[in-house]
Amino acid sequence: MKETEKHILIVGAGPAGIEAAEHLSDLGYQISIVEKDEAIGGKLNNWHQLFPDHRPAKEVLSHLVNKLPKNVKFYLNSTVTKTIKEENLFNVEINGKTKIQCDSILLTVGFDVFDARIKEEYGYGIYDNVVTSADLEHIFNQNNKILTTQGKIPKKIAFINCVGSRDEKVGNLYCSSVCCVTGVKQAIEAKQMAPDAEVFMFYMDIRMYGRFYEDLYLEAQEKYHVQFIRGRLSEVAELQDGSLLLKADDTLAGCPIKVHADLVVLLIGFVPAASCNSLSKMLNIECAKDGFFAPCDVHIDRNSTGTEGIYMAGACTGPKNLEASLADARSAALKIHYHLVHGKATNLINELS
């Protein structure tokens, strides 16, 4: 398509930001991306393999990055520090100095992972062999095998669901939606790397909502003999020999259970990105009660904000898996295109008023 003078600023160079950049660039727009980290790719950089098919994360990442047109301008190690809207234009200040002008802003700031130290009773940051699911992807990436902090192959591995999610005590009532399938995926990979290990999963509910996720669950049971225990972990204690003692209620058995493990993996959930709060104030965008950006309409207009010209996509509007984030980004790209072509905002608020 013919290039236009219209300029779009994308905040966040994770999968959603990259996907939107590619499609908007294809539609002929000038694209700039502000990214707080020194590299693009967001959280996808930290993944080893993806669910539900154990596909190497690098494969998807390089596919996304390679599709990016050369004329996309990147501001790395950067954040938006000020935004002033004049007529239909946004005057944006980056890192307190660089000033750019754009016709539309797309927020794809993603999410942060829950800080597991807050759940002190699980001992993350206190006991060596209590790690998070994000740490485990890193361990897989580093070693291509599963190891305890002492470099030994673990004999008993326990995965703990809902760490930082569905938990009033940490202020996160929502389900992070992807931890169950991440845990089952990692449990299978752990068994592949350490076939002699016993693998447990403590859960309240197993929420395998996506296509082929249930197959993964079945595979974990049937082929890898992962033991699913229905009970939320109550506490972890480190013993003198360095092993970990786990206590929970085995709710289906109807009595408490204790299990030793030499590696405990906490399946940490999503929390709103730190920038969600600051951007919501700067751009006058509403956050929902869970702290993520509130969509204009949860069913039929997920990408519009209350402010004309500003759109959002990906996990900044709530926990999403990779494919949902990418689909959301494409949907936002189309929304922005209509907005810039028709001049007038097409978001639902304007249609309704």
Binding site: E121, R166, K169, G231, R232, S234, E235, D249, T251
Partner: protein
């Protein structure tokens, strides 16, 4: 009367329609946070009394909700009101007040 050497056992099924759930309703009306319980078992898993006895807050409460209250008095006396269950509950159930309300409701019944 002939004795055939066997008796008729009580049905093992929870008879939800005929069970008396008034006690549960009374407790719930005084401590509505109990409606939020998702049976995760964090309470029972952390319970000091539950390590040494068959006391299990999660199960006791569930049976109460189903109208199975015959063992409730004995069960509820095992709680030492230490409050660990309340600290850990991810749904914010006021478990200690639940125990208190069960004891009050049981006293009223007698």
């Amino acid at each position: 009367m002939n004795h055939f050497g066997f008796t008729i056992n009580k049905d093992n099924t929870i008879d939800y329609d005929n069970n008396d759930r008034s006690l549960a309703n009374e407790v719930l009306s005084h401590e509505p946070s109990l409606y939020r319980c998702i049976q995760c078992g964090s309470c029972a898993g952390t319970c000091t009394a539950g390590s040494f006895t068959d006391y299990n807050f999660r199960k006791m409460h569930l049976l109460m909700r189903r109208g199975e209250i015959q063992h409730l008095r004995l069960a509820v006396e095992k709680c030492i009101l230490c409050g660990k269950c309340q600290l850990i509950c991810p749904r914010g159930v006021n478990t200690r007040n639940v125990i208190r309300q069960i004891r009050i409701a049981l006293d009223k019944m007698n």
